[in-house]
Symmetry: C2
Subunit: 241 residues, 2 copies
DNA sequence: TATGTTTGCTTAATGCCTCTAAATAATCTA
DNA sequence: TAGATTATTTAGAGGCATTAAGCAAACATA
C-alpha cells in the first residue's frame, strides 16, 4: 500500500464519494437547492444516472450525507477556533467559537441554509440518522465550553424555584441527557445563549432580516456582548480590566 | 345579482381559487411540502393537470399565492388580538399580539414552516412580490404598536453614539424607511425585540430546539417578559403594580 | 336571437426527475 | 485461471412541470 488505509477499491470508492459530494455542493451553490438532482449530480461527475445508486440508496440519503458533511465542516471550523486558542481563558474561546460559527455561515450561506432549512423530514430528526449525529457534535462544542466555564468560574443562574414548573421539568430532562454536566439552572442559561445566537444566525442567513439590515455583523457582536454578560465574563476583547 | 360583488363568472372563479388553496393546504399539512405538486392539487380539486394553469402561471406562482395567504391569515390573527383589546394599554396589546403570533404558529406548524423556510427563491424577496407585501403587513403590526408606545410612553434607548458606526448607518436607513416614525435608537430596540421573538418562534417550529425542549411555551413567555422589560413596561399580566 | 369572443377545461406531447431491473465490463480473490 | 464482487450501462415505468392544440359552455352584443 502506498498511502491511506484500506484497499485500492476502497480508496477509489472514497475518491468517488468525495467527487459526488463536491458535485452536489457545486450545484447547490451555483444553481440552488432545486438543482441538486440525482441525474444532475451524476452528469457532473461523469456517470450516467442510476450509477449513483451504488453510492446512495436514494436522493434523500445523498442529501442527508452531504448535509451531515456540511455540519461536520462547520463543527470542525468551530473546533479549530477553539484549539488554536487552547491556552486562552475559556471566555475568549467561547467568543472565538461563536465568531467562527458565523464566519463559516457567512462564507457558505447556501450550505448553512441547507443545514437549517433543507431536509426537515421526520427521518432526519430520528436519533440514529447521520444528520442528527453530526448536528449533536455541532451543538456540543459550545456546551463543552460552557461546562468548562461552569466548573472553573460558575456564572450567575436563576433560582430553580423561580422557573415555572413545566420549564423546570424539561430542563431537568435536558440536564440528565448531558449527564448532569450542567445543573438545570445552568442549562437554562446555556440554552438561552444558544437559542439567541443560533437563532440570529439563522434569521440572517435565511434573509428574514433583510428588511432592516444589510450587514448583521454589529448586531451579532452586540448579541455576543450580551451573551458574555449573561455568562459573567469580562469583555474578552480587552486584555485586562 | 344575489350576493357578493362581481359577475357570476367572477364568483365561480373565486370559489375555484379558494378550493385550490384549500387543496394545497390539505396536501401540505397531511403529506408535507413535497406533496404540493400541480398535478396532485389538480387531482384534489377534480381537474386534470394543466387546467390549473388557467389560475396560476406556474408552480412557483401557486406556492407564492398560497404562502401569501398564510401570511395574511397570520397577520389577521394578530390584528384581531390587537382589536379585541383596543381599549387596553399598549403594553397589553403588544403581549396579546405576540401570543397570538405564537398561537397561530403552533396551531398551523406546516403553514408557518412554509412561510419561513419554504420558497426562499430570490423572486420572493423582490419588493413587488405578493409574498413580500404580505410579509410587510405581518412585520408592521408590532412596529405600529411599538410606535404607539414610543409616542405615548417612550422606552429606554441607548445613546446613538454608543452604537457602532456601521450599525448606526443601517438603523438610520431603516428609520427612514418607516418614515422616521421611530428614531434610529428606538428602531434598534424594536428590531432587537422582533429578532428575538420571531427567531425563537422559527427555531421552535422548525424543530431546531427539540434536542432540549418538548414544549417551548414557558421559554416563549420568558422571552416575552424580557421584551416587556426592554420596553420599560410593567408586567401586563398584573392589573396594577 | 344569432354570432363571435372569452373562459374553463381536456388530451397529447416534451423533457425532466426518481428509482428498478437486467445486462455488461472491470476488478479483486482464491 | 475461475468465480465472486463491484462499477457502470441501457431500458423502462411512473410522476411532474409545462406547452400546445382543440372543444364546449357561458357571455356579450348587434
Amino acid at each position: 500500500m502506498t498511502a491511506g488505509t484500506g484497499s485500492r477499491r476502497e480508496r477509489l470508492r472514497k475518491a468517488t464519494l468525495d467527487e459526488i459530494h463536491g458535485a452536489v455542493r457545486t450545484l447547490l451553490v451555483e444553481q440552488g437547492p432545486g438543482a441538486v438532482t440525482i441525474n444532475a449530480v451524476a452528469r457532473q461527475v461523469g456517470m450516467s444516472g442510476p450509477a449513483l445508486y451504488h453510492y446512495y440508496a436514494s436522493h434523500d440519503e445523498l442529501v442527508g450525507a452531504v448535509t451531515a458533511g456540511f455540519l461536520r465542516e462547520l463543527a470542525t471550523a468551530m473546533e479549530q477556533a477553539r484549539e488554536t486558542r487552547a491556552e486562552e481563558p475559556v471566555g475568549r474561546r467561547i467568543v472565538a467559537v461563536c465568531r467562527a460559527m458565523r464566519a463559516w455561515a457567512i462564507a457558505h450561506p447556501a450550505e448553512f441554509g441547507w443545514i437549517f432549512a433543507g431536509p426537515i423530514s421526520p427521518a432526519n430528526r430520528r436519533p440514529e440518522s447521520t444528520r442528527h449525529r453530526a448536528g449533536q457534535r455541532f451543538e456540543q462544542i459550545l456546551l463543552d465550553l460552557t461546562v468548562e466555564l461552569w466548573q472553573t468560574r460558575p456564572f450567575p443562574v436563576p433560582e430553580p424555584d423561580e422557573l415555572p414548573e413545566s420549564l423546570r421539568t424539561q430542563l431537568a430532562a435536558y440536564s440528565a441527557s448531558i449527564d448532569g454536566r450542567l445543573p438545570l439552572e445552568a442549562a437554562h442559561v446555556f440554552l438561552g445563549c444558544w437559542t439567541r445566537l443560533y437563532g440570529l444566525l439563522c434569521m440572517e442567513i435565511l434573509h428574514q432580516l433583510d428588511f432592516a439590515y444589510t450587514d448583521l455583523e454589529p448586531v451579532f457582536e452586540e448579541c455576543l456582548r450580551e451573551l458574555i454578560g449573561a455568562l459573567g465574563l469580562d469583555d474578552p476583547d480587552q486584555p485586562a480590566a
